[in-house]
């Protein structure tokens, strides 16, 4: 793992929304590193800021409601935190691209697949019309779409969900990006189709030396796909580690609770281990640890002071429980702090 270079480095990212009810701190100090060629899983519950983090990276935050108010984002060594739209556009769909959760709504219903897929090629390359078409067909075939030549001239609603997600993937892969952000790419799909798509993404990743940030709330997907995992809770990273470490030795009480509540880990028909309470809204996060109100091990301190991200051997964890155990950080952990 030694000399890999980070492709994406997010440092202390803070993205806030302004709304009629005040400021929503959707992302409140996130650190995240993705190295070339690796797959990082970003897990966490709904509303914890996963999508906002990825949109911040892509420069796709809804303007003017949302803005990056702190921290930096480096992409391939270049600071893109406040890159002007024009230059950002040159990166998007080209060096970094994104797949979205909802294949059903992520394609424009009134344009053909071909018209939409041609866009990144038109924006970022100088290929001729015929070359563009050839390239698209080739790409579609590589994601296992039959009749690629015809499908190009069809409309999204003529395709099934799985097919559309394949189209989305090939749309993202067209310019061979260095980084692919996949925001819950399979959540909306059926189990059998999900298996197909995950398989496909694995294959693609192996073929192309590409880094991937995989956003999901499904630990099973993480187990299957990722090298490293970052767990988010309430707009912050609470734990990050190698995938095996997370499953074998989760340190943060939230991660532990999450793993314990998977039905398979419990006796059939028995009481599931549950995390009490519910996810806080980003606008009602008080001081102290965001997880404290639901944490069974919470101490007095947790309610008043926000814990730091503690570097432990092979993982880092934002919890006061481990405040004393700090050890020399591994290389990648240092990056992730």
């Amino acid at each position: 793992m030694g000399n890999r270079s980070p492709i994406l480095e997010v440092r202390q990212l803070q993205t806030h929304f302004r709304s009629g009810h005040g400021v929503v701190k959707a992302v409140n100090g996130v650190d995240l590193t993705v190295y070339a060629g690796e797959t990082v899983g970003l897990v966490g519950e709904s509303g914890c800021g996963k999508s906002v983090t990825s949109l911040s990276v892509m420069g796709l935050l809804p303007k003017p409601a949302a803005a990056i108010v702190g921290g930096t984002i480096h992409f391939a060594g270049r600071d893109i935190t406040h890159l002007p739209e024009k230059q950002m556009r040159k990166l998007r769909g080209n060096e970094m691209s994104m797949i979205f959760q909802e294949p059903m709504t992520s394609l424009n219903p009134v344009f053909t697949i071909g018209q939409q897929m041609a866009e990144p090629l038109r924006q970022h390359t100088s290929l001729t019309k015929r070359q563009i078409r050839e390239k698209m067909v080739e790409m579609l075939q590589s994601v296992g779409i039959p009749r690629a030549g015809q499908i190009i001239d069809e409309y999204p609603h003529q395709l099934s969900g799985g097919m559309r997600q394949r189209v989305m993937i090939s749309l993202a892969m067209l310019c061979q990006p260095k980084l692919l952000i996949a925001d819950e790419p399979t959540t909306a799909l059926d189990v059998t189709i999900q298996a197909q798509i995950l398989q496909l993404m694995k294959e693609i990743k192996q073929k192309q030396q590409m880094a991937m940030l995989l956003i999901t709330h499904d630990l099973g997907v993480v187990a299957e796909m990722c090298d490293r995992v970052v767990v988010m809770y309430g707009g912050q990273v609470v734990e990050s580690a190698e995938v095996r470490t997370i499953f074998d030795q989760p340190r943060h009480p939230y991660t532990q609770g999450l793993l314990a509540s998977m039905p398979n880990a419990n006796e059939r028909k028995g009481e599931l281990k549950a995390i009490p309470g519910s996810v806080p809204r980003p606008d009602e996060v008080g001081q102290g640890c965001t997880f404290a109100p639901r944490c069974s091990q919470a101490m007095e301190r947790c309610r008043h002071d926000r814990p730091p991200l503690v570097a432990l051997p092979r993982q880092s964890c934002r919890c006061w429980l481990y405040a004393g155990e700090e050890e020399t950080a591994l290389e990648e952990v240092a990056h992730a702090t």
Binding site: I193, L198, L219, P263, A265, I275, V279
Partner: protein, 321 residues
């Protein structure tokens, strides 16, 4: 020692007339096509299958939220499918539903008290004061408190709303509850709370559930028997443990193998199905699964598979004839 059957569904059919475009002829979606099963008192019967296979339609047809085209639904000695409006309305006291979307299933303009007392009121149960008492009792049972009685749904989180939805269904102390994906809209950490609640209520009130879900992990945890649906048909049905250990139908086998692993070191022999779920508008001939079936035979293309009973394990597949 078989318990008595509470619900018997026989040859249920529900076809939707579909007219999507203005210029296309009418089409028929066979959402539920000749489904029969029995649910016994006190058990949890699971219905699984992929999106669009007709799980919800089955659930709704049982409660007559949608009128079935054909078939019988025997509940408590009466054929529900034939009951006149007013008698059906009264029977609803005994069969209730929990909906998937906790955000859409509560009237945003009503307080929790109104929502919870309405079922009692429309069935003429108790006096107004007692109803309030009942409501507050049930609220405690589902883990909320009196404090919430005068709040509106939008003041609750998804998990809390789903609890209210469940409370609303349970307050009438029905015999049967059809739960249509009651946890799939919830956060992972909340799901287990609600599942626990369902299990607890079942024990407490001797409820019978029809539990509809596509999450096989949850289904395995909570159900006693499972029916697997594919394109409007019931393709396999067995005791839960048995089904998960020894799936017979090739589709069930693929479905189970597709469930994500639970640990990075797990290895699983994946049966990756080729192709997509066919459109129910135009289901394949013969066995509807044959275009994706890894074990497809000649006969599968032309002939509908018979239903084979392998001793409390029913499967509709030519392989077992």
């Amino acid at each position: 020692m078989r318990p008595e059957p509470l619900l018997e569904v026989k040859h249920l059919k529900k076809y939707y007339e579909l007219k999507k475009g203005w210029f296309s002829p009418k089409q028929q979606v066979k959402a539920v096509d000749d489904v029969s099963f029995t649910v016994y008192r006190g058990e949890t019967y699971g219905l699984v299958g992929e999106s669009g296979c007709g799980k919800s339609t089955t659930g709704r047809a049982i409660l007559r939220l949608q009128e079935a085209n054909a078939g019988e639904i025997w509940f408590a000695g009466e054929n529900v499918a034939r009951l006149p409006y007013e008698r059906m309305r009264r029977l609803r006291r005994r069969m209730q539903m929990v909906f998937q979307d906790p955000y859409a299933s509560l009237n945003p303009k009503k307080t929790i008290l109104q929502i919870l007392t309405e079922p009692l009121r429309v069935h003429g149960l108790y006096s107004p004061d007692e109803r309030v008492k009942k409501a507050s009792e049930i609220l405690k049972i589902v883990g909320l408190s009196d404090y919430h009685l005068h709040s509106y749904p939008h003041e609750f989180s998804g998990g809390q709303r789903q609890r209210i939805g469940i409370a609303k269904a349970v307050i009438l102390q029905p015999d049967l509850i059809v739960a249509d994906e009651p946890v799939s809209a919830l956060d992972v950490s909340i799901q287990s709370q609600v599942i626990n609640l369902l299990l607890q209520l079942q024990r407490e009130f001797h409820l019978t559930y029809i539990f509809i879900s596509h999450d096989l992990g949850v289904v395995r945890h909570i159900t006693d028997r499972v029916g697997v649906m594919y394109l409007g048909k019931l393709v396999e049905q067995a005791q839960t443990e048995k089904l998960f250990q020894e799936p017979k139908h090739p589709y069930t086998q693929a479905l189970l193998s597709a469930v994500p692993i639970t640990h990075p070191d797990d290895t699983r022999e994946r049966i990756i199905l080729s192709g997509d779920v066919p459109s129910p508008l135009d289901p394949p001939q013969g066995c509807t699964f044959h275009p994706r079936c890894p074990a497809c035979m000649e006969v599968c293309r032309t002939e509908k598979p018979p239903v084979v009973d392998l001793g409390e394990h029913i499967v509709a597949c030519h392989l077992y004839v």
